[in-house]
Symmetry: C2
Subunit: 302 residues, 2 copies
DNA sequence: ATCAATCAATGATTTAAATTCATGCGGGGT
DNA sequence: ACCCCGCATGAATTTAAATCATTGATTGAT
């Protein structure tokens, strides 16, 4: 078996030109090196160096081992460096799970600066989970979960990252656009456009329509926020989104936010992660940056 | 220090799914593996697996080490295989030194079949040596020397590979072409074309012209055999080459061989190599094939 | 819920391997 | 001829690795 140590020896002997010098460089005695070399050579069945007087000349095998050492040792050294970075929490992969569709816009703003600060961390975003976001956390499919429902389970911890108001989105000039707030009954002649998720996870149902036993005239689902707002602007329906998101789009797309009910619907978004990961530096840093980013995002418009 | 053994462990644990199974596969006790793993982990400063009940889940570090193992271990295994081949003399590099210009044509015929029989051997040919062919042998710049001068030195051995007659080459229809042999005086009005080497190494000087105190009207040098013969055919001079070589070219180029002196000049070509290499299989095989090839080459024409 | 089976961790002991120490041998240089 | 210097080698020592024996924990079956 060729061991890493053997490659160390081959490289060092080549560098130093003699066994004795190499032994010093490797913090060994000349004797130890001599023994090791002899054992290696009889194991390989071929000399690694030919002894010409006091000089050593690498044989074919020696030359090959040298090239091997020059290829492999840097890989070992790089690996140790990398594992060290992982150990110090400076490197790893951060898989983010999203249970909050509109948060994608917010996430993009967090990830940009994050990638700059953590060049050693690869970020991935997943939006579909076979056993829900929490299952994905437990199953190590993701490392962080962005969710509005902080379901407490032992082994998981949550941190609130931002609050926002969920509002109705209507086209500019719509009848509701001028009212101070919308009533559930106002939606009974409207088409409601939502992301394609179960109704239980849509606040406009659970906290607005269902309590009033109302329902919209029709219900359409659309995957992406952009198209959704285009549809609203075109008068094809109304939707429910975070206020800050609507206000951000309002520059480009003629839509207006309307409060849902007199008191509005307030929401809170949490980051969840496994307890044992809480001390991992690059995960912790993501939490911190997420909260900071929030500040600027939710306040881009007065 | 990440050792090869550690990579073995990581790979085997991944393959087997448990420490105990991996321990068996590695012919170790469960305890030994456990100890080694613990030491490795505290050396790296990070766990390689997280223990979830009795299951092991690789950490980021573990996943990285696994990919490392899958890259590195095959290289080690391949290296051992290769060194084994070198040890058995089935692989290596064969650097041939040539001190005999026209022999290049002959060499080409040897090398072709040789490369087929020894797919693990790389062949290289060198024609210029700072300290002569023998110096190149001693200096390990070459492994085999093709030479007409078998200078005996301790540590070197020679084998004759073929005999041939060195002849004068004249254009077809030349005055000398019909004579049974040429005399030194015949060259006094001719241009002599040779390879660009010292006169001491040209037999036509040392064994033909100089003993008779003759010299040609002019002396030109040309590197390649083909051009040399083209020049001869064009009447620009005469040359001296092995008879078999001239006869081979005579099909395509209108030249004729003429004996040098009544008795002709007989030459012998030797292969020289270092004594300690004599038992290397692929070198020995080259010797054998060289002799065999000779037979067919020197007798291609009656 | 209990029990047996299986797996991992650990401490003590044994075994094996690597290293050192002391010494001999031989080639090169002065 | 002499003295370094570098490599080889055998015996002693130190260090590391493996085993044995045991424990605690988890899982699956009864």
């Amino acid at each position: 078996m060729i061991e890493r140590h053997h490659l160390d020896i081959v490289r060092e002997v080549d560098r130093c030109g003699s066994l004795t010098a190499a032994a010093n460089a490797l913090h060994l005695t000349q004797s130890a090196l001599s023994h090791t070399v002899r054992k290696l050579e009889q194991q390989l069945g071929t000399p690694v160096w030919v002894r010409e007087g006091r000089k050593l000349r690498p044989t074919q095998s020696g030359l090959y081992l040298l090239s091997l050492a020059n290829r492999m040792l840097p890989q070992f050294e790089h690996a140790e460096d990398l594992v060290g970075q992982i150990a110090r929490g400076q490197r790893g992969s951060l898989r983010i799970g999203m249970e909050c569709h509109p948060c994608y816009q917010w996430l993009l703003k967090v990830v940009g600066p994050y990638l700059e600060q953590w060049p050693g961390v690869d970020v991935d975003v997943k939006q579909r989970f076979q056993f829900g976001g929490i299952g994905a956390l437990f199953g190590y499919d993701i490392d962080v979960l962005v969710t509005p429902d902080p379901l407490q389970r032992s082994g998981l911890i949550y941190e609130p990252v931002f609050d926002y108001e969920q509002v109705l989105v209507v086209p500019k000039g719509h009848a509701l656009a001028t009212k101070p707030w919308a009533e559930p009954a106002d939606l009974e002649r409207e088409t409601l456009i939502t992301y394609p998720v179960a109704a239980e996870r849509l606040d406009i149902y659970t906290r607005f329509l269902l309590p009033a036993h109302s329902s919209p005239a029709r219900h359409k689902t659309i995957e992406t926020t952009d198209i959704m707002l285009q549809m609203v602007a075109a008068g094809r329906g109304v939707s429910a989104l975070p206020r800050w998101l609507v206000e951000e789009y309002a520059h480009r797309i003629p839509v207006t936010p309307v409060r849902l009910g007199q008191d509005g619907i307030d929401k809170q978004i949490f980051l969840g992660l496994r307890e044992r990961d809480a001390s991992v530096e690059y995960l912790h840093s993501f939490m911190t940056m997420a909260k900071e980013t929030t500040w600027s995002v939710t306040r881009t418009l007065p």
